[in-house]
Amino acid sequence: MAKYHPDLDLITEYAAGSLPLAQAACLSAHLNYCEQCRRTAGQLEDLGATLFDSLQGETVGDVQLNAVLARLDDVPPLSYAKVEQPLAGQTPALLQRLMKGEFADLVWKKITSTLSISYLSTGDPGYEFALYHIKAGGKIPEHTHKGSEMTLILEGGFSDADGTYHQGDFLYREPSDVHAPTALQSEDCICLAVLDAPLKFTGWKHRWMNPFLSLNAG
């Protein structure tokens, strides 16, 4: 069960449909692991419905109604099979779709000896949506961001100065928060990171790489 969650602001924007696509996809993947946030999102959707219900309706004529009635035969009601509860610990369906396969099938770009990155395409032009693979005990060099960073742990876990994070945990870092996550010693860590500006390594050993770290949005 996830211990770190998106804050109420983010879930509100998500429920209202105003969160950018890449961030909404990441938050949605967290909901896969977190019943409590699913419930909160549901309440916030109820709030949206209350606002929707109290709108001053605009006139819609019979022409519109008839146009829709005429098209109903083209789209017969679908029948829905009973969906099984998602298995705890399973990679969220949305990610499986974007990955089109398993973690091992992806193209991984090696950044350091312990860190590889695989970029997935959401089509969102403002955000990079990428999987980070950190080897057990490996460290992501200390870095900061010019923008925000959303992280969701999919496998294993990591820790930084603020805490230790496990599967399903969701982190949101504001621009200029500096951190240096280290994967748990026991197993490799795979996490999803959604960025709106490239990482910026701060340590002298890795700073030279900064010019090569461009944002892979889209």
Binding site: A25, S28, L47, D53, E58, V75
Partner: protein
């Protein structure tokens, strides 16, 4: 149209005396019997709201707003089998379809090419736990009542965020307010509506 003599077990009356569960019944009739009369009733109620939703604060033209009405209502018809009255209120379900159709429409208009549809980033209702009818009804009624009591500046922000689909940052820009002010107004409003999270650590 057939009269329903059976009283659904989750039937209740609003203060105005209208049966709020009428819309759940319509959705069930559509999915089980492809009932066009039930669909027409739903349309007459929801289409004007969807159009108002499309036009509020966005720069969509009336033509595009009509398109959104058509698309949303067609989806309501097509997906009616996915509606489960034990898991959501009918109006919330219709609202979420309208919200997702609007997102798809914005993306189409902006030639934003994505493998994901608006629906894809929200979990299937079937994956949700059934909620306690009573509890959720109370919370919705509470929200409805408290909404009248919200100070105008808080109500205005909620309308911007939900009905106009603006992010907190966009709302701040349009109202010429600092982002922190927008966020705190949203939070105060949610507090009054008793929407909060327990035992939370923010990551």
């Amino acid at each position: 149209m057939s009269e329903h003599t059976e009283t659904p077990k989750n039937d209740w009356q609003t203060p105005t005396g209208r049966r709020t569960d009428e819309w759940s019944e319509c959705l069930t009739l559509i999915s089980q019997k492809e009932d066009r009369a039930a669909f027409t009733r739903l349309f007459r109620h929801f289409a004007p709201l969807i159009k108002a939703f499309a036009l509020s604060g966005s720069n969509l033209s009336a033509t595009v707003a009509d398109e959104l009405v058509q698309e949303t209502m067609l989806k309501v018809w097509q997906k009616s089998g996915a509606f489960n009255p034990e898991k959501a209120a009918a109006s919330t379900w219709v609202y979420t379809i309208a919200r997702n159709c609007r997102t798809d429409m914005f993306r189409r208009l902006n030639k934003f090419d994505t493998p994901l549809a608006g629906d894809d980033v929200y979990p299937d209702q079937e994956a949700e736990e059934p909620f306690s009818q009573l509890q959720s009804r109370r919370s919705r009624e509470h929200v409805r009542e408290m909404m009248q009591e919200l100070p105008p500046d808080q109500a205005q922000i909620l309308a911007k965020v939900y009905m106009e689909g603006k992010s907190h940052a966009e709302a701040a820009g349009e109202l010429d307010l600092p982002l922190g002010t927008v966020k705190s107004r949203v939070r105060l409003a949610l507090q009054k509506l008793q929407i909060h999270m327990e035992n939370y650590s923010y990551g």
